[in-house]
Symmetry: C2
Subunit: 209 residues, 2 copies
């Protein structure tokens, strides 16, 4: 799991520029969540705890980095963001390490459920999974923090990273199932109004390594 | 160097909520830049090339991930963001790995100069270094990509990470100059209107491990 947490004054989600608003929060945090092929449900609990407890707010006396979103009873807005699993091949983003949408969507919903259970359901907001949106983030500070899942921060990180690279190479060479599912999954971005001629063939080909 | 790149419809910087607008761009990318203690000027050129060439835009036919900000002649807005060098100690962000402001500011300005030289100066915008701002990001997609500097992506990454951890431990134990300068540097956030009682003593103590 790759997470980006931003401290927020206001956050609004729209389906398109100047279009329908689908979600919003006031003060709180925005969580961008990138789910990788290797992520397991075990990591969710740890990440939920970090999100709710990381101290990005000041206390009543103005002391920075002393209160969490939960301490302040502020809101959390989550957006699934597979581009956080990007690996650059030259200058081209490659997303084969991202979990395909058909698995990532239930994973993401499970993550949201954990977050609601650990906090208050009414303070957890959400976007529309996989949809093309305009995410209007008023970053307060700015304060932006990257979090890694425990699998990536434990001692054998070195090994894990190397393993990932090797697995990726294998996948690229052998066209493993994950890759073909990734291609099925490609039209995820077909809503993109700018992708007028976004035929599936085009989209899948542009995800080729 | 830790970078976050976001694809932008509109981006506006304000000195405070509802306050004076200090910078803005239309379509383009937002670059949040976290400079670490170990970063050297050598890395700047590589990162500038990546920022300008990473393909986050679609082409005329709507094909995704095929055009860079430079291809499209869009704008770039950079914001220095030391919180990207955060290390969590429990739930508390620790910023001893971030380059202290007195070195980070010339480093950042050099980075901006390289960016302007490699592109067009008039298409590179900036915030106010070290200031407390409201960064209003309209993330288009959303599309958010993390980039690491070459030092962190080369083979000896494993070693580098371990070295960092060890160095950090040393620093914490021995109160190396970098730490004391970090404390001098702490009032960076004193502009924070919420930090009403933000006496220097308070601020430096909250940066203690």
């Amino acid at each position: 799991l790759a997470l980006i947490i931003m401290r927020i004054s206001v956050l609004k989600l729209f389906m398109q520029l100047g279009g329908e608003q689908i979600s919003s929060i006031g003060r709180g945090i925005c969580v961008l969540l990138g789910i990788s092929l290797e992520d397991t449900h075990k990591e969710i609990e740890h990440m939920v705890r970090k999100i709710l407890n990381v101290r990005v707010f000041e206390d009543e006396s103005g002391k920075h980095w002393s209160k969490s979103v939960m301490d302040k009873q502020y809101e959390v807005l989550c957006v699934s963001q597979f581009t956080l699993q990007c690996i650059l091949k030259g200058n081209k983003p490659d997303y084969h390490m991202a979990m395909p949408a058909e698995q990532a969507e239930p994973f993401y919903n499970n993550f949201l459920e954990h977050l609601k259970k650990a906090y208050k359901p009414e303070l957890i907001k959400d976007g529309k999974f996989g949809a093309y949106m305009q995410v209007n983030i008023q970053n307060d500070g700015p304060v932006t923090i990257e979090l890694e899942s425990p699998a990536a921060t434990m001692d054998p990180k070195q090994l894990t990273k190397l393993e990932k690279q090797q697995q990726r190479k294998e996948k690229t060479r052998t066209k493993a199932p994950s890759e073909s599912s990734r291609e099925r999954n490609a039209p995820r971005n077909k809503d993109d109004p700018s992708a007028s001629s976004g035929a599936e063939g085009d989209v899948s080909s542009e995800r080729e390594p």
